[in-house]
């Protein structure tokens, strides 16, 4: 191999190495601003049944197989949920979440990232999961001081009283 070819090959290998190595970690990418934080609101919750349950009549129970004779007759479909989030009194999210499934009987899911500035904030989370026309079934007020880059996960568990910080 001639010296020129040797040098050229070396140059190509170095060039390729630089290309691979550089783009393997550069340039840096700023995914999230330094002076911001976020609230991560995510839950999976089944709202109340549409129409509510009623007791079965004796005639209805008699028509059922013995192992199917549950006392209450409940419709499958669930109501849509209304979710609101306020930050320092400003509404930043208001969404209607529909139940999943072909019969609309599954849980509704939410996964939202809400960026907020750093510093102290008052967060209010509200949810209506019943057939009521106004007002909310659950409400949670949180006073938090957000640090730069902080992520606060907020979940919902009706058995634990509603919105919770994980």
């Amino acid at each position: 191999m001639s010296a020129v070819r040797f040098v050229l090959q070396g140059a190509f290998y170095v060039g390729f190495a630089v290309l691979i190595g550089y783009f393997a970690a550069s340039p840096s990418y700023r995914h999230f601003p330094d002076d911001m934080a976020e609230i991560k609101l995510s839950f999976s919750h089944g709202a109340q049944r549409k129409g509510g349950c009623r007791p079965r009549t004796q005639e209805e129970l008699a028509k059922l197989a013995p192992n199917m004779r549950t006392a209450q007759l409940c419709p499958r479909e669930r109501v849509p949920m209304l979710v609101e989030v306020e930050v320092d009194g400003t509404l930043v999210m208001r969404e209607t979440l529909h139940p999943t499934g072909l019969s609309r009987d599954g849980a509704a899911h939410a996964y939202r990232r809400l960026p907020v500035s750093t510093g102290p904030h008052i967060f209010t989370f509200r949810m209506r999961d019943s057939e009521r026309a106004d007002g909310f079934d659950f409400e949670k007020r949180l006073e938090l001081t957000m640090a730069a880059g902080q992520s606060v996960p907020v979940d919902f568990r009706s058995e634990w009283g509603g919105f919770i910080v994980r």
Binding site: R5, L8, Q9, A11, F12, Y13, V14, F16, A17, L19, I20, G21, F23, A24, A25, S26, S28, Y29, R30, H31, F32, P33, D34, M36, A37, E38, K40, S42, S44, T100, G106, A107, H109, Y111, G149, Q150, S151, V152, P153, D155, R166
Partner: protein
């Protein structure tokens, strides 16, 4: 589409010529992109298996185990990790250039559609394998990728509960989900091997590794890069913080800023749409295929040379069907034949000296028969005066023979240089058709039909049947392996060949040319 291909081909050939200078045609990396891709794949595969031994597959200890390997076991951990990363990155680089080159040279149409289309899932699998690997380090980059990927996947209406909820808080992530990612990172590369096997089904004698020189140089480069610029981790993942500034591996992760910019839905549409576009490229526009090679059983003795030389596995041997005393006969699969004519050049019955006008042979191209080739040679040389008279035989995919015609030079082009039966060289020189024969094929290793140059060279050097007869004066034969845009260099070599021919003693008086009919059936 043609203009785009021409533009890209110009760029690719320009690049190939630069690499020719440094590596020579034979070891030109651009000619071995697939093999180099394989090499990088095996580097990533072997280093990955090695790293897996030291990886703690729990959420709590994965980061610490990677850090231990990176810093405490510097060479056998840190360098291996870097090899794993850079080898994987290099796969993407190879894949991109390989894709553009095959497209630019139009090597995706006709029977080649299969290889092209089966390559598309490989792109997806490569990315899935690469991206899933980044999760396993469980640093902030892994956290960013994990969250962004699951959010992206959640856009698809196939998951019940959002899978991104797995990364809501430290308590929501368990080792089982992490184990699933490790399974994906191991299973997908294994799946890739299987898809690669399918990808190469229609490629005869695929090159699994580049030449030793190229392999050694590439490995030295990778090891050097790994030592000089070792791969490191970000800070450990913390789901209670948002990763802010990240050192993205742009080879694999460039899609994430795009998702953030345009949203998950448009990104899915874009990627799936682009994949479908790639898949349909072989038929955009539909290719008008020349007639495939045809076997003439009256002249086929089942010698297998066409089967051995076909680069597309388009010919198989089947039991004799015509009752002649041979075991087998050649059979062409029309769907696989690209009409390159290499089989015609390989057939020992492709003889130019027959007195019959139709020049029968065991296997022939209906559109470009050897009878037509003999006639074209005659016509090309008929108007050539002065001396020495040179017959330039070129290739449609490289330097066309006709483009070399000038004073003292007649040119004829073939679908591939290996479509030239060696007896035609003998014929041209012994029947006083030309004083010299100049053969121009594609660059070494860069043949459109992959093995055309190699087979032709071996036939001329007497290493492969059908061999060029010993009586052919070698000093009256010259070869040149060049790319399409290298007409100037080729013309220069022809002039030098003419100068050499002038110094040779006058050839013996040869028998006159037999009468060649104006038209050939």
């Amino acid at each position: 589409m043609k203009a785009l291909k021409r533009f890209l081909a110009f760029g690719v050939e320009w690049l190939e010529r630069i690499f020719d200078v440094a590596f020579g045609q034979k070891n030109n990396p651009i000619h071995h992109l697939g093999a180099l891709g394989f090499l990088f794949f095996w580097v990533a595969f072997v280093s990955g298996v090695y790293l897996y031994i030291g990886l703690d597959t729990s959420v709590a200890k994965a980061f610490a185990s990677v850090e231990y390997m990176t810093h405490s076991v510097w060479f056998f951990g840190g360098v291996m990790r870097s090899l794993h990363r850079y080898g994987s990155d290099a796969i993407i680089a190879m894949l991109a250039v390989h894709l553009v080159r095959e497209f630019a040279h139009d090597r995706l149409r006709g029977p080649r559609w299969f290889t092209w289309v089966t390559g598309i899932p490989l792109i997806w699998l490569t990315y899935i394998a690469g991206i899933s690997g980044y999760w396993l380090v469980w640093d902030q980059l892994a956290q960013y990728i994990a969250v962004a990927t699951t959010e992206w996947l959640d856009w698809l209406p196939i998951f019940g509960e959002p899978i991104a909820r797995n990364f809501l808080a430290p308590s929501s992530l368990d080792d089982r989900f992490f184990t699933l990612m490790i399974f994906i990172h191991i299973a997908v590369p294994i799946m890739m091997v299987f898809v690669l096997w399918i990808h190469l089904q229609r490629v005869a004698r695929p090159e699994y590794l580049p030449s030793r020189v190229l392999t050694l140089g590439t490995m030295a480069m990778l090891i050097g890069l790994s030592i000089a610029y070792p791969a490191t981790s970000h800070a450990p993942a913390d789901l209670l913080t948002v990763p802010r500034t990240l050192k993205l591996d742009w080879w694999y992760l460039a899609i994430y800023p795009v998702i953030e910019k345009i949203g998950p839905g448009p990104t899915w549409y874009g990627l799936i749409g682009f994949s479908f576009l790639l898949m349909f490229l072989p038929w955009l526009p539909p290719l008008k295929r020349p007639a495939p090679a045809k076997v003439d059983l009256a002249y086929c003795n089942g010698c297998r040379r066409c089967v051995n030389d076909c680069p597309y596995n388009a010919i198989t041997m089947v039991p004799r069907s015509d009752g002649r005393p041979f075991l087998e006969e050649a059979k062409v699969d029309d769907d696989l034949c690209v009409s390159c004519g290499i089989c015609v050049g390989a057939c020992p019955t492709s003889i130019a000296f027959r007195t019959t006008t139709d020049l029968p042979t065991g296997i022939n191209l209906p559109d470009r028969s050897i009878a037509k080739l003999r006639q074209r040679m005659q016509k090309a040389m008929a108007g050539v005066r002065g001396g020495p008279r040179i017959l330039a035989l070129g290739c449609d995919n490289g330097v066309r023979g006709e483009s070399l015609a000038r004073e003292g030079v007649g040119g004829v082009s073939l679908p591939c240089i290996a479509a030239l039966p060696p007896s035609f060289i003998d014929y041209a020189l012994s029947r006083n058709l030309a004083d010299g024969v100049f053969i121009v094929g594609c660059a070494e290793g860069g043949c459109t039909n992959r093995y055309g140059v190699e087979w032709m060279r071996a036939r001329l050097e007497g290493e492969r049947d059908p061999r060029l007869r010993a009586r052919v004066p070698r000093e009256r034969l010259a070869t040149c392996w060049a790319r399409g845009p290298e007409c100037g260099r080729v013309a220069g070599e022809i002039r030098a060949f003419a100068d050499r021919l002038r110094l040779l003693p006058a050839p013996e008086k040869k028998p006159p040319l037999e009468r060649i009919p104006e038209t050939v059936p």
